[in-house]
């Protein structure tokens, strides 16, 4: 399928339901970000907290893609691809850290690591 056909398909879909505007994307992005923040703040399991940061990443990525599409400017797309790459590398590193921390205390509880208090 060509790009033109896809666009037509999307337009016909939009006519059928309601058109998906920029605000929908941004709304989803905001919701994802909020879920990430709330999850990060409320959970103490380090793996979950890490996943929450991933959700916040993707929320930002989604917003960038949406704006990129709006302006027909591919900088946003490029940026998101780089972010994904970095996030993948970072995920490997962070999970490695989590495993290491788990080995030290036998627990995934973040509160176990509160020695640096004033």
């Amino acid at each position: 399928m060509t790009t033109l056909e896809l666009t037509t398909l999307a337009q016909s879909g939009a006519e059928a339901l309601a058109p998906i505007t920029l605000y929908h994307y941004l709304f989803v992005s905001a919701v994802m970000f909020a879920i990430g923040v709330i999850g990060f703040l409320s959970r103490r399991n380090m793996i979950i907290m890490f996943l929450c940061t991933e959700i916040m990443f993707q929320a930002a990525g989604l917003a960038l893609i949406a704006f990129s599409r709006l302006h027909f400017n591919h900088s946003g797309d490029v940026f998101v691809i780089i972010v994904l790459t970095v996030a993948a590398a970072e995920a490997a590193l962070a999970l490695g850290l989590v495993v290491y921390l788990f080995r030290r205390k036998g627990s995934l509880d973040a509160l176990q690591w509160a020695q640096l208090s004033g």
Partner: protein, 723 residues
């Protein structure tokens, strides 16, 4: 002091006449000093070498009498050189200058200005007069001290002779210095040595107190002297005597009005002199200074150092004759100090303290002499007093040495009759008749010169009567000591001082600690020899009164120096300058009879009250008199409560003020400084709980902060939109 004010007009006219007299007396020109012989520069060098050697012995731990004999040898050489210098200088009345080295050279910005001070010595007959008794007595007293201090052989012995030699060096600088800076160096040097030697027994709290008191009281006077020297510098642009005196002579000759700043200078020098020479109101340190070893009291606190004030005024006499008010103050302070100290001396029981008050009193006479325009009389009294007062002190020291530190005249009696004490007794008698002023003694002639001059100088008649009364009191308290301690029934009680305890242990080991079997040890050859020499010298000094053309030998010595001033009222033997006659006779002649009678009356009182019918050492007829006098006798015994008054008006307010300032310092100044430290700590304490290590808290903070930022940005965009 009311008299002083009333007399001011007379004094002012006196000054005018004085200026005329000065011009006619040839004070208009001043001859600059010639170059002296190099060997005269060795006079102050000898004590310095001795001082260095004693310091070396101290360092090496010498335990023999070596330091004493080194000191005696070098001071002796210094004395011989002084005598040689006397024959060099005096016969022709020369003024010479000997240079050691350039000391200070400070250039100032202005053209030709600058402070150039040479370490040079100024020889005129006044210098020689002083140096003769300083080096001579220092030699003899060092010999005496070699025996007196023998119990301290070791570090203390070396320390004693180190300070002793240093003192003589400083005194030489003071007397022989060619400029005021060298005089000041010597002035402070003798003050330091005095402090070191008063505090020689530094384990005794009273000695330490006395040393501090002497040092601090002298600082008050020294401040005056220092400001005086600075004023002299600003006025004359030089501190060399020859330069200053020639400028003053020019000033006198020009007949111009004298700048007020120059008339202030004598007041400042006077303060320095009163501090050093223990005059009112700064005299209280001298009696306390008797805590030092007796040779020190004899040399420093009787014969030499305390006469430095008299020397200063005599040396600076050209300044003083410019300001009659200053001279009147010198005379009144001297006269009143003489009387006050004599009244205190009458009621003391410690013989060394009696001698100390008598020194203060005699110094008062010297100042009185300077004040009534007889610098010759003042200088002569300094000279005779040095001999007989040193004799008296050394006799008291011999008694103290022999009786384990006993100085209370109620606990000693008939010392002269004991075996081996004959020379001490005779020397004491010689000293006493001199101090009392019995006719034909040296003290008699020198004191009469001063008293007679007080009577003939207009406006000072009252001071003459005060001086005469004081002479009577002096005779009384002097012979009170002699009659109580040296003659009468033989009785003694040793002091509690274990001075010389080692020696008695050698001889009587089992009795050493038993005072019941105490044996006084009679003085040895050194003490006896020194006392004999001094006693003979004290008698012979009377002879110099009949030498020379200008009122005795001392007069002719003063005549050739800048201290000379022809008093328009001076009474010469035979010819009176139209001066008021006293009881129809020439004042000096009248004074021979009057003061002789006064002295005899004083001695008679002492005999009646303290010797006649006395059965024991402790009681005498004076006790009944004391009861009758009641509070007066008690007040005199307590030194008229002067120390207490000084405490109340100076020490206590200072103490209270300093406590208040300490409190201010502690609360406000320290509070501010501590506050600067406490403030961040307090803030940190409040903020620290936020750093609790739980990183979700940090994350919440971050999220909250971000939210706040967003809200602010949103609010701003809203207002910006509406505006």
């Amino acid at each position: 002091m009311l008299d002083l004010l009333q007399n001011l007009p007379t004094l002012t006219t006196l000054a005018a006449e004085g200026a005329d007299a000065a011009q006619s007396a040839g004070m208009t020109s001043y001859e600059f000093p010639g170059v002296g012989k190099d060997w005269m520069g060795l006079i102050p060098l000898m004590p310095l070498i001795s001082c260095v050697l004693c310091g070396l012995f101290w360092f090496l731990g010498v335990k023999s009498k070596l330091p004493a004999f080194t000191t005696v040898l070098f001071l002796g050489v210094s004395f011989v050189l002084t005598v040689a210098a006397y024959f060099q200088i005096h016969p022709e009345g020369l003024v010479q200058r000997v240079m050691w080295f350039n000391w200070l050279a400070l250039d100032t910005a202005s053209e030709g200005g600058g402070l150039y001070i040479d370490f040079a010595f100024y020889f005129d007959s006044l210098t020689i007069l002083w140096m003769l008794f300083v080096s001579g007595l220092a030699t003899l007293i060092a010999l005496y001290a070699s025996e007196y201090m023998a119990d301290d052989k070791g570090p203390g012995y070396c320390r004693f002779f180190f300070a002793f030699s240093l003192f003589v060096f400083a005194m030489s600088c003071l007397v022989m210095g060619d400029n005021l800076v060298l005089l000041f160096l010597g002035w402070e040097g003798v003050g330091l040595c005095s402090y070191l030697l008063i505090g020689y027994y530094f384990k005794k709290p009273s000695a330490v107190e006395a040393a501090k008191k002497a040092f601090i009281m002298n600082r008050i006077g020294d401040l005056g002297l220092l400001i005086g020297i600075m004023m002299t510098w600003t006025q004359f642009g030089s501190l060399e005597y020859s330069e200053i005196f020639s400028q003053i002579a020019d000033l006198n000759a020009s007949g111009e009005e004298i700048p007020w700043a120059i008339t202030i200078i004598p007041y400042l020098f006077m303060i320095g002199a009163f501090g050093k020479s223990a005059q009112l109101p700064l005299y209280t340190w001298l009696p306390d200074a008797m805590e030092g070893p007796t040779p020190v009291s004899a040399l420093i606190h009787a014969a030499t150092m305390v006469t430095a004030g008299v020397y200063l005024i005599a040396r600076m006499y050209p300044f003083f004759v410019l300001n009659p008010t200053a001279l009147a103050i010198v005379a009144w302070i001297g006269g009143l100090t003489a009387l006050l100290a004599a009244t205190i001396g009458m009621a003391q029981f410690d013989i060394k303290r009696i001698m100390a008050y008598s020194t203060v009193s005699q110094l008062g006479y010297m100042f009185l002499g300077l004040g009534v325009l007889t610098s010759a009389g003042g200088a002569f009294h300094v000279f005779t007093h040095a001999f007989f007062k040193a004799t008296l002190f050394l006799c008291c020291g011999a008694v103290m040495h022999g009786f384990a530190g006993q100085l209370d005249l109620r606990k000693l009696s008939g010392v002269m009759k004991m075996k081996g004490w004959g020379i001490v007794g005779i020397a004491m008698l010689v000293g006493c008749i001199n101090l009392a002023g019995l006719p034909f003694t040296a003290g008699f002639f020198s004191k009469d010169m001063i008293i007679a001059e007080a009577f003939v100088t207009p406006g000072f008649g009252l001071l003459g009567w005060i001086a005469l009364l004081t002479a009577g009191l002096t005779a009384y308290y002097t012979f009170r000591v002699f009659f109580r301690v040296f003659i009468g029934p033989v009785e003694y009680e040793p002091g509690d001082d274990h001075h010389g305890a080692e020696e008695s242990q050698d001889h009587h080991e089992e009795e050493a600690h038993d005072h019941g079997h105490f044996h006084p040890h009679a003085p040895g050859w050194a003490i006896n020899a020194v006392l004999a020499i001094l006693a003979v010298a004290s008698i012979l000094v009377a002879g110099v009164y009949f030498m020379g053309d200008h009122g005795g030998w001392a007069g002719s010595m003063v005549h050739d120096s800048t201290a000379y001033y022809e008093s328009p009222y001076a009474a010469h033997d035979g010819e009176a300058h139209g001066s008021p006659a006293l009881f129809g006779l020439d004042p000096h002649k009248a004074m021979y009879y009057i003061s002789g009678v006064v002295a005899l009356v004083g001695i008679l009182f002492a005999w009646f009250l303290h010797l006649a019918g006395r059965k024991t050492a402790a009681t005498s007829r004076a006790d009944a008199l004391k009861v009758k006098l009641g509070p007066i006798a008690r007040a005199a015994e307590n030194k008229w409560y002067v120390d207490e008054i000084y405490n109340a008006i100076i020490r206590v307010p200072l103490l209270v003020a300093s406590h208040i300032f300490a409190l201010i310092d502690k609360l406000i100044v320290d509070g501010l400084v501590d506050g600067a430290g406490w403030l961040p700590r307090g803030v940190a304490k409040g903020l620290r709980p936020s750093q609790n290590g739980i990183f979700q808290n940090y994350a919440t903070g971050m999220a909250g902060g971000l939210a706040l930022l967003l809200i602010i940005v949103w609010a701003m965009s809203m207002t910006g939109g509406s505006g």
